[in-house]
């Protein structure tokens, strides 16, 4: 479905220095620097898969997404999406895809979303019976019956995102690019959106690429993740593999009888947090069963959980390691 080889996108940007004097100078001369937004990415994604792009701000996620959807022209490398060169934006290609951005919307602001859907029906040439059927499904799945007839400006952020998805999916795209689809939404709305996206993927067999800051999104939706930093691919695999590779540790949540804690808890593992009768310990992967056995025999334990470290921490560790190796590389050259 998607083939990307050694994809690159370089920009030259203006540098602007603060202060009145410098901006006066900038009137006549501007300094430019080259920014490597995407610097040699390669990956393949096959049809019907759900893949998440992860990375800090400015990592190149959105840039990659824009090159895949045909909005940006690559500086180098190869992109092939379902047999099309995206940047040509052929009608047949555009009818297969949709890009939904959490921060930019296509809904007409002062009209009910239904009007935008109607507009898209005409533009994407969706036959009327198909349109009616899809509209019915989308309305039911998203629960947006009344909202479709309310002017967009009067909708809440979450309702707007649902309608945005409906407007994007009315032509039945087989490839979805979602850029921060849950940004600014509350937790339950995030969940609704996630479930809807997953069910769309399963029902229609559509391929899905998602970027998000929200690790929960990625963990819940994407069996495969691509971690990108500074335009390069750091990791390609499942969440479990990522954790095993970067932070091969487990977190054990303990609840003791009574409100006091045993005194020498540090002896069993690193104490992440400790409260009244509760504590979280971090252990290396190999030690888990042994330490658990010891704990259970020595203390009265009411409840116990074993979890992976939170993905946020895994990621920040990955990026700090990456930054470190880059610095070392740089040091070698200087």
């Amino acid at each position: 479905m998607i083939e990307v080889e050694n994809l690159k996108k370089y920009y030259s940007v203006f540098r602007r220095e603060p202060g009145l004097k410098n901006s006066l100078k900038a009137l006549f001369r501007r300094h430019t620097t080259e920014v490597k937004a995407v610097d040699g990415l390669s990956f393949h994604i096959s049809e019907g898969k759900r893949v998440g792009f992860l990375g800090p701000n400015g990592a190149g996620k959105t840039t990659t997404l824009k090159m895949l959807s045909g909005l940006l022209y690559p500086s180098g490398g190869k992109v092939l999406v379902d047999g099309h060169l995206p940047h040509k934006r052929e009608t047949s290609f555009l009818k297969k895809i949709i890009l939904v951005m959490g921060q930019k919307q296509q809904l007409l602001w002062d009209l009910p979303p239904l009007e935008t859907l109607e507009l898209n029906r005409a533009i994407y040439e969706v036959p009327m019976p198909v349109f009616r059927k899809r509209l019915g499904e989308l309305t039911e799945l998203l629960g947006i019956g009344p909202q479709l007839r309310t002017p967009t400006r009067q909708l809440s952020l979450g309702e707007r995102m649902k309608c945005e998805l409906a407007a994007g999916l009315i032509h039945g795209p087989k490839l979805l690019f979602l850029d921060e689809p849950t940004i600014g939404l509350d937790v339950s709305m995030q969940q609704t959106i996630r479930e809807f996206i997953r069910s769309y993927n399963e029902r229609e067999g559509a391929t899905l690429i998602l970027t998000s800051h929200n690790m929960d999104d990625v963990e819940a939706l994407c069996p495969r993740i691509l971690v990108i930093d500074k335009g390069r691919l750091l990791f390609d695999g499942s969440v479990a593999e990522l954790v095993a590779q970067v932070k091969p540790e487990k977190r054990i949540g303990l609840r003791f009888e009574g409100s006091s804690l045993p005194e020498n808890l540090e002896a069993y593992g690193r104490v992440i947090s400790a409260g009244a009768g509760e504590a979280i310990l971090q252990l290396g992967l190999g030690e888990v069963s042994e330490v658990l056995g010891q704990l259970l025999t020595r203390f009265a334990i009411k409840d116990l959980t074993v979890e992976n470290p939170p993905l946020e921490e895994v990621m920040s560790e990955l990026f700090s390691k990456h930054a470190l190796t880059r610095n070392e590389e740089a040091a070698e050259f200087s």
């Binding site: 602007r16 009145l20 901006s23 006066l24 900038a26 009137l27």
Partner: protein
């Protein structure tokens, strides 16, 4: 007494400094758009030309006409005053009007009202467009050409009178603007109010003698464009009577006082209405 004066002086000084800060911020903002710097100068020349062009055609060879009671040079003075005031309107008044409209729409005006300074002052000085100042030059050129045609220069007294009347005109324009802003509190969508204000002001292009009967009265007392452009031009020509001068002063004071009152009322309305 001296204590009051000192206090007044101190607060004037504070507002003066505030004005400086706001101006500087606007200047920095404008610096970001370098193409505007060059183009604005050209644009102001173009607009000045559009203000002069109709007169030029009226008095030109083909028509050989005249606005009753005004020679070309004299009528040009009116246009000069018009261009001068339009600069004030475009450079200082419209941009802040836009800012207020934006504030009201987004509901961020509350932050302005919470600041420990007079809200009217803050709102009025929120945004300037320094590049527009280039059209001050255009108005000076028009004045110079007009007097060159007339073949005399105004006396010092006439200069002073003209400057005074232009100052009054700025106050009048500002008062009208406060009314428009107050309207923005009541009507919700007012993006185009800026259009409306400047198109009303367009009437000030011509000496007020082109209007007859009721219209002349309207454009003197209701929308005082005659006071804003015709009177200053007359002052520069030295033909403004003391009665007219008095009228201008009285009208301006009334407009200013009423506008302050309207502003305070609409602010009260706004703060009591929003939860």
């Amino acid at each position: 007494m001296s204590g009051v004066l000192r206090l007044l002086g101190a607060s004037m000084w504070r507002y003066f400094k505030l004005l400086g800060i706001q101006l500087k911020a606007s200047l920095l903002l404008s610096m970001q758009y370098r193409a505007d710097f060059f183009i604005d100068a050209v644009i102001s020349l173009f607009w000045a030309a559009t203000a002069i062009a109709p007169l030029w055609v009226v008095y030109g060879d083909k028509v050989q006409g005249k606005i009753p009671g005004w020679s070309l040079g004299e009528a040009m003075l009116v246009v000069g005053c018009f261009v001068f005031l339009q600069t004030v309107l475009d450079g200082a008044i419209q941009p802040s009007l836009q800012t207020v409209v934006e504030h009201i729409r987004k509901g961020t005006l509350d932050f302005v009202l919470l600041k420990p300074a007079d809200a009217q002052f803050l709102v009025s000085t929120a945004r300037f467009q320094p590049w527009k100042a280039s059209s001050f030059l255009a108005s000076l050129v028009i004045f110079a050409v007009a007097f060159a045609r007339l073949g005399f220069w105004p006396s010092l007294g006439n200069w002073a009178q003209g400057a005074l009347l232009l100052l009054l005109a700025v106050v009048l324009l500002y008062s009208l603007w406060i009314w428009v802003v107050s309207a923005a509190f009541i009507v919700v969508k007012v993006d185009n109010l800026t259009f409306l204000l400047s198109s009303v002001f367009d009437i000030g292009r011509w000496p007020s003698s082109v209007f007859r009967g009721i219209l002349r009265w309207v454009f003197t007392f209701v929308i005082p464009t005659a006071l804003m452009t015709t009177f200053p031009a007359k002052a520069l020509l030295g033909v403004l009577s003391w009665a007219e001068l008095g009228l201008a002063v009285v009208c301006t004071v009334i407009f200013a006082v009423v506008s302050r009152w309207v502003w305070l009322r609409s602010i009260r309305r706004y703060t009591s209405a929003s939860s």
